[in-house]
Amino acid sequence: MPPGISKRIKTLSVSRPIIYGNTAKKMGEIKPPNAPAEHTHLWTIFVRGPNNEDISYYVKKVVFKLHDTYNNPTRIIEAPPFELTETGWGEFDINVKIYFHDEANEKNLNFYHRLRLHPYEAGQSKDDEISSIFFDEVVFNEPNESFFKILMTKPGNLLPSNKSDKVIFSQQLEREELDRINAGILEVDKQIDELKKSFNEKITQKQEK
């Protein structure tokens, strides 16, 4: 039984960055003992913090729903690290469900991740480790008070400041992203201005006629 549903704090939201995705590597001759013969890749799907920090203080469990051809396709990971390593030969959509602690009284988050085993970009050789990793933010809009307290125990929104080999998603990347979007906005503004001008010209032309 839940401990009495506590009040939600209105007009407030708390966000926590997460990283999810998969890494994959082609298996050579050495294969795990129980891997089927047709499996060619060893892959790991994971959900974790951007700096590999512990997210179990608000995540209760993560459920990965694999392709039906796997044995026990629903894999439940109830303790960190929330990751699953399997072998396979094909790419498919993995359904990821993140469950939060009971105090949160929140629904689970449900999204899909396309497992990537093969390199798409040029310049990657076939034997490199392939990764398909996404950044996202879990936003708890109007969390209830007890969960809010839990969330406030850790400064979980901090991102590593600089990019490095290990850390992809950082404040640096965020700034670059912002700069790119701002450049895009400027570009669009410019185009709008040009269009306005030509529009006005055309209108005046029309009126002159």
């Binding site: 039984m1 839940p2 009495g4 549903i5 939600r8 704090i9 209105k10 007009t11 407030l12 939201s13 708390v14 966000s15 926590r16 960055p17 469950y99 939060f100 949160a104 009284n105 929140e106 629904k107 689970n108 988050l109 999204f111 950044f135 996202d136 933010e137 879990v138 936003v139 708890f140 809009n141 109007e142 809010f148 969330l151 406030m152 400064p155 979980g156 929104n157 901090l158 991102l159 998603f169 990347l173 965020e174 992203e177 912002l178 790119r180 979007i181 701002n182 895009g184 906005i185 570009e187 669009v188 185009q191 709008i192 269009l195 030509s198 529009f199 055309k202 209108i203 029309k206 006629k209």
Partner: protein
């Protein structure tokens, strides 16, 4: 780790190793085994069993000399001190003086002296002091208990009685009580076993014996026995023989408690001990009966009981599990607002009710879908009404703002205005509450914690930030995506953080205006070409 590694570590030679695999791991294993024998051969005769394994674990790093205890026997005592003297001395037993007892005491005979000394344990030999009374007193306080009318009379007599009667020390009574309790505990099982043998006979007798009145002599006899055997009821019951007849244990107990209760009540009506002098014979009999039944169960019955208990535990566990699972599922449901307490739906009744609700909801929806197509005009009108309402609301909001700026409220307000004001106030107070919660945090800390007070009315719940990037109608969306590609930007930002998503939204808005303008210009062009 392969098996050869383990063998290597344990220093066990591998004889049955196929030569094909032996190419890489064996040489090292072979060399190590070749090296060690010289060391191990020296020590081998001495070490056996577990020790040998342990030494082998050391591998090549065996110590050159092994220290081995040679003898398995205990060392001989080498102490040269004299043994301290002990004496088999006589001592005074407490209470009974007519017997002679001896015991071993530390110390020489001279030290102890010729006189027999008190035992160290004498202080533990405490006798109970039970109430004593003469026949007259007995009659008196027995009567006073029976009839209330004689109470006053008894009280009058009480004074001179108190002078005569020797008051037993009260402290002893409490001790006795605790003794009785201990006795009961100790003898619980014993009694059940004992009783089981005697009870059948006694229960039959009890009716007959109970009918017989207790004379003063018998009560006095009972109390002397009690005194003599320190209220050890089983001994008392065993020795009890008055006038050639015995009574069941419960009767003795009941009588003893009854008499002493009346005695103390008579002496002092507000005695604290009175409450502990309650004894229910029926309950005692019942308890013993239960105990007897409990102890006389057969092995099969005990096994069955255990099985049943385990089964019931299983049921409880299963019930708990289904409940928690059900709760988790219910939380995922949209229909009853999931943020509310779901406990009302946890019972089977609740769930059937919920199910019916959902079912009726669905049928209702379907009715709407399948029914007569709605009047398009009605729809339009509803739409207009909504728009009008929105417009009005925004206007009213402006009004309210201006009013609040002026500091005076308009004298007459429509109902809607009032409502609007109320919700605005509520929103404001909520926002204020959220702010007070966060007042300890600086802006930087807030960023670190990821807390934002948006002050808007958004639906509560958890979501991924990237899902809140606006999307448009398919046709428009395609063109927006194409524009984004032209700008060299991804559709989904690589890092959908709060700021990034905000900027992204702005960008998308601009793109939409851009596209809109393009459309208009195209139209204009087309018009122009027609007019030409």
């Amino acid at each position: 780790m392969s098996s050869s590694d383990i063998f290597d570590v344990l220093n066990i030679k591998q004889k049955s190793k196929s030569p094909i695999h032996g190419s890489s791991p064996l040489p090292s294993a072979g060399s190590s085994t070749n090296l060690t024998p010289t060391g191990s051969r020296v020590s081998k005769p001495q070490v056996t069993g577990m020790q040998r394994e342990l030494y082998n674990l050391l591998g090549d790093n065996q110590p050159p000399v092994m220290v081995q205890p040679s003898s398995k026997f205990k060392e001989k005592l080498t102490s040269k001190a004299k043994p301290s003297p002990w004496t088999y001395a006589e001592f005074k037993p407490s209470g009974k003086n007519n017997i002679r007892l001896r015991h071993w005491v530390k110390g020489s005979k001279d030290l102890l002296g010729p006189e027999p000394q008190e035992s160290d344990f004498a202080k533990f030999s405490v006798r109970l002091s039970l109430p004593e009374f003469t026949e007259e007193e007995y009659e008196l306080f027995m009567k006073s208990g029976e009839t209330k009318n004689t109470e006053k009379e008894a009280n009058a007599n009480k004074l001179d009685l108190q002078d005569n009667a020797e008051k037993p020390p009260m402290s002893n009574v409490s001790e006795r009580e605790s003794n009785v309790e201990d006795e009961k505990e100790k003898n619980k099982e014993e009694s059940a076993v004992e009783e089981s043998g005697t009870e059948n006979g006694e229960v039959g007798n009890s009716g007959k014996v109970e009918a017989e009145e207790w004379t003063y002599e018998e009560v006095a006899y009972l109390f002397t026995l009690c005194r003599e055997y320190d209220l050890r009821w089983f001994v008392i019951d065993d020795r009890y023989l008055f006038d050639g007849k015995s009574r069941p244990l419960e009767d003795l107990k009941a009588k003893f408690y009854e008499v002493s209760k009346k005695y103390f009540k008579f002496k002092d009506n507000s005695d604290v001990k009175l409450e502990s002098l309650n004894f229910s014979k029926d309950k005692e009999l019942e308890r013993k009966k239960y105990l007897q039944r409990l102890l006389s169960r057969s092995a099969a019955e005990i096994a069955e009981e255990e099985a049943l208990i385990i089964e019931s535990r299983k049921f409880e566990m299963a019930a708990k599990k289904t409940l928690s699972e059900r709760e988790a599922l219910l939380r995922l449901l949209d229909s009853p607002i999931s943020t509310q307490n779901v406990s009302q739906y946890l019972s089977s009744q609740g769930i059937s009710q919920l199910y019916n609700n959902l079912l009726s909801d669905r049928t209702r929806k379907r009715k709407n879908d399948n029914g007569v197509p709605e009047n398009p005009w009605m729809k339009q009108q509803q739409h207009f009404a909504q728009q009008r309402q929105q417009l009005q609301q925004t206007q009213e909001r402006k009004n309210i703002e201006t009013h609040s700026q002026d500091g005076q409220a308009s004298p007459r307000k429509t109902k809607k205005q009032k409502q609007e004001l109320q919700t605005a106030m509520k929103r404001k107070s909520e926002a204020a509450y959220a702010e007070t919660l966060l007042k300890d945090f600086s802006a930087e800390e807030r960023k670190a914690l990821g807390v934002v007070t948006h002050g808007e009315k958004l639906s509560p719940g958890v979501y991924l930030r990237s899902t809140r990037i606006p999307t448009y109608k398919p046709a428009l969306q395609n063109r927006v995506v194409a524009t984004l590609h032209e700008l060299g930007l991804p559709v989904r930002p690589a890092m959908p953080s709060f700021e990034v998503v905000q900027r992204q939204e702005e960008l998308l808005k601009k793109i939409v205006t851009l596209l809109d303008m393009k459309k208009h210009i195209d139209k204009l062009e087309a018009e122009k070409s027609i007019t030409k």
